[in-house]
Every structure is written in C-alpha cells, then in structure tokens.
C-alpha cells in the first residue's frame, strides 16, 4: 500500500535532546490524519522534516512516495503547508499575498480566485492582511496551502488562537476538504476534541515517540465503554454489579463499571440500573461513556508501549 505521507524510523536530535525518536508515520491517501501530542512532543519538528525545512539525523520522510531529503523540490510540489508562523506581508492585501506565492509556484492567475472561493474569503480579498482577524488569516493560510491543488496538505495547529465559532468553521471546512478536493490532510494539534471531530486516522506522539497510530474508528472500537455510577452506598453497589458480571473500577466519586469490548453502553446501563434498583441501592446518576480519543490518549500516555492498528 502506498501512502500519501510516510516516514521510516525518523530521528532528529537538537543538542543532547532527542526530539524525534524513530517515528514511522503512515498517512493513507485522502485521510485526515490527526497528529496529536503535547506541546514539545516533536510534532512541529516532524512536520518541518516532512517539508524539507529540517534535516533528519536518521530515517526517511516520503511525501507522495518522494524522498524529501533527496528531491526536496519535487516533494514540495506535492505538498501545501499552513505553518504556525503565517508569514503574510501585512501591508499587502490577501489577494496580493496569494499572488506572490502563486507566481513562485508557477500556477495560472485564476488559481488565486479559486482558492479564495474555497475558503470563502473572496469578499475580503482586496483588504490588507493587517486588517484581517486571526480566523481570516488562518483561512488565508489554508488558501495559500491549496494553491496549485497539491495532493497533500500539512497543517500545523490550524485552530490555534481561533474563537469557538472560528474553530467550528475550520472543523467543518477540514472535514469537507478530502471530498471536495481529493486532498490528504496531515493535521497537527494538541487539542483532542478538535482532532476527534475531524480526523479519520490518528497518530499520537509522546516524548518524541509515536505511541499509537491507526484508523480512529478501529482504535476506538478496541476500547471498552464505561458507565460511571453514583449511588448512596458505593460498596454495596459494587457488590451487586460484580454479582451481575460487571467489571468494577473504584473511583473517588463513585464507581466506574467497565463493559466488555463491543458491548452497547445503553443496554449495559439499563441492565446495571435494573440490578441496582432491584437490590435496593439508591442510584443518583448513571453516565455511560463511549470510547473516546481522550481515553485512547490517556491510555497511551500512561503506558508508553505502542498500540498500533492497521491504517
């Protein structure tokens, strides 16, 4: 299987610090790949290696099958990037900024209008970038990344600094992007919710190592659902639940009942509720919790061993 983006045992060291440690990414074509990790986990360094801005000490980075270290310019033609530092000339209009990049890419003049329409910024194209809001600058950055219709987009923290409405707009736009343009998106973020809403695949980075990678749905399917229970007598509630075959984790504020993988949490909640009520336990609350990216992230953050699903 060929990937839109692939890295093989990528390493990069800054002084004594190993920032990227044996990272092997596999981003399938037309995927929205959420690249997650804390600030300083090595996400931006990995992206910079993919864009040819930094050299890897070891390993390979391939964009659309092209080795970035060997053919940087050929690889760069296949990728559009939105970096944390936008690099806009604020004294020029949005349209003029795009036109500078368009000329350097050798695209036809009609490209500017096309990408402005894609990000719904056509009405503000003639305004100086200095007068743009942060959300508009992010959209202009996306438009610039889309110039020349590259098959791969690399977006570094695209929702940074956006207000909730701007974040929702960006999520909607990113979700629709592969279908509208056929592009593959590699999206870095430290915001789990943001990735969970848009990503089809995830890679989780911790201390420079890729500790989990795979399709989001498959990874979540491997997790069990949980039910948080609050009752008047937690000890008795736990005893009753165990007697009915549930697995129990004690928590400070009640019990956590762990269901079997694939078990429907709605049916589990109803069965548990019936058993507790029949035993005379007063139930204050039952919170079914579906498998989430946050739980995946917690699981791999606590245990650094890699969990991998087939992409």
């Amino acid at each position: 299987m060929s990937f839109a983006i692939e890295t093989q045992s990528l390493c990069r060291r800054f002084g004594d610090r190993l920032v990227v440690d044996q990272i092997s990414l596999h981003v399938p074509r037309r995927a929205i790949y959420g690249f997650l990790g804390r600030n300083g986990a090595g996400k931006t360094t990995t992206l910079k290696i993919l864009l040819g801005l930094l050299r890897a000490d070891h390993g390979r980075a391939l964009v659309d099958g092209i080795d970035v270290a060997v053919e940087r310019r050929a690889a760069a033609r296949r990728v559009g990037a939105l970096l944390e530092a936008h690099g806009f000339y604020v004294n020029l209009s949005g349209e003029a900024n795009l036109d500078l990049t368009r000329r350097l890419l050798g695209c036809p003049a009609t490209e500017v209008a096309r990408v402005l329409a894609l990000v719904e910024l056509g009405a503000h194209a003639r305004r100086r970038v200095a007068d743009y809001s942060l959300g508009m600058r992010q959209r202009l950055g996306l438009a610039r990344a889309l110039l020349g219709a590259p098959p791969v987009l690399v977006l570094d923290e695209p929702t940074n600094g956006l207000d909730p409405e701007g974040m929702a707009d960006m999520r909607r736009f990113l979700r629709e992007l592969p279908e509208r343009t056929g592009v593959t998106v590699l999206l870095s973020s430290h915001l789990l919710g943001e990735i969970e809403h848009v990503a089809t695949h995830v890679g989780i980075l911790s201390q420079g190592r890729l500790v989990m990678e795979g399709g989001l749905a498959e990874l979540k399917a491997g997790l069990t659902a949980e039910i948080r229970v609050q009752a008047d007598d937690p000890a008795r509630a736990a005893k009753v639940a165990r007697a009915h075959g549930f697995t129990i984790d004690a928590a400070d504020d009640g019990l956590t009942v762990r269901l079997a993988p694939g078990e429907d949490p709605r049916e589990g909640s109803a069965a548990l509720n019936r058993a507790l009520c029949a035993a005379g336990v007063a139930v204050h609350a039952l919170h079914p919790e579906l498998p989430s990216l946050e739980r995946l992230y917690r699981a791999v953050s606590q245990s650094p061993a890699a969990v991998e699903a087939t992409p």
Binding site: F14, K48, L51, G52, L53, L54, R55, R72, R73, A74, A76, R77, V79, A81, L83, A85, H86, G87, F88, Y89, V90, N91, L92, A96, D99, L100, T101, R103, L104, L105, G106, R144
Partner: protein, 244 residues
Amino acid sequence: MNTLATALLVEHRKLRRSLALLLAASVPLLIAVFLFFNLLRGHQARPWQQDMQMGAAIWAFFMLPMGVTALTVLVAQVEHVPRSWDHLRALPVPRWHFFLAKAAWVLGIVALMSAGVLAGSAAALYLAGRIEPAVAPQGPLDMGYCVLLYGRMYLSAFLLVAVQLWLALRYASFVPALAAGIGGTFFAVVASSAKVGVVLPWQVPINLLASDPLRARIALLWGCLGGVAALALMLVHLAHREVR
C-alpha cells in the same frame, strides 16, 4: 532561470509598498541639500572637480555605509518581521534564488542611490552657483571622470553590501546588522587613514579617493572581487542553513 526571474519580480512587489525608495531618495537629497548650503556659505569659488569630490567623499565616507546598512536591514526585515522564511523555504523553488533576488535589488537600489548622489550633487552645486555667482564652481565639469569615480565606488561597495546583507538575513533581529554597520562606519570616520582601512568593508569605498593610486586600485579589486566572493558564500550558507 525562470524561477529566478519570478523571485526578482516577487521581491519587487514586496518592496514596492516598503519605504525602500524613500530611503534611496533621502540619501542623495541630504547630500545635495548639504552641498547647496555649504556652497552658499563659502567665500570663494572653487573648481567643479573639487566641489564634486566633496559630495563623493560624503557619500563614500558616511552615507554609503550607513545607507547600505539601513537598506539591507529593511530588505531582510521584510521577511523577518512576518516570519515568512519557513513559508518561502518550503516552496519548490531553489532557496538561493530568494537570497540572490534580495542581493540584486539591494545592488540595484545602491546603483540608483549612486546615480542620485552624482546627479543631485551636480544639480545642487549648479543651483547654488546661479543664486550666488561669486561662489559658483569654476572651470569645466568633467562628468566622465565623475561617472567613472562613482562607478568604481559602487563596484568597491560590493563587499560592504555582501557583509551587511549577510548579517541582516542571518539574524532575525536587526541589532547585529545595525551594530556592525554603525561600528564599521564609526571606525571609518575616526580612523579614516588607518592602513587596515583599505580592506575593511565600510572603509573600502573612501579609499577610491586616496592620493596613492595603488591603494585605490587595491580597494577597488578587493571590494569588488571580495564582494562577489562574499555574495556567493552568502548564497551557499543561507540556502543550506537550517532555521529552527
């Protein structure tokens, strides 16, 4: 070559809205204004060549190194301020084209400034002479000699341009380039006759006015050839340099 031409055009578009042209115009204007009033306050007429050499000396001594310092900082800050290097360096364009385009524009603007100083000096002296005929420059104006002198000064300033542009592009802060430019010009002023001055980038152009023809020739060769070599090294260094 096509991408180099595009890089030159793109650089022009970025500079068009900057204050580079104002800077380029202000230097000849300041020298012309000084020469105009200086002639009016004089008591006796001098030959054209002597008056014109005063303009050339002010240019080579102080305004050229300071003007180049300011111009190179401005051209570099166009990219440093919006942090646009990552964007540019990620494009499928040979990176050295961006730096060569900047060097070409700086050299072009310095050429315009040189021409402006020459024309502005002649015009200011002529005007002052018309207002106060008693101090009007005397004898013929040897424009060929003046053009040759300014042309040589321009060529000898390649090393100054290369050093200042290299520093300005290398450091995101304008302070190192500005400090080097101010420091170099300061020593050019306070130690103008120092032997070592003939090789110091900020002092090379003034040596074109040296009474010793050998010193002037060394300054021209060193400034021009050393400048071309330094520009080539700058392109190699900046194009291969990692920016974290």
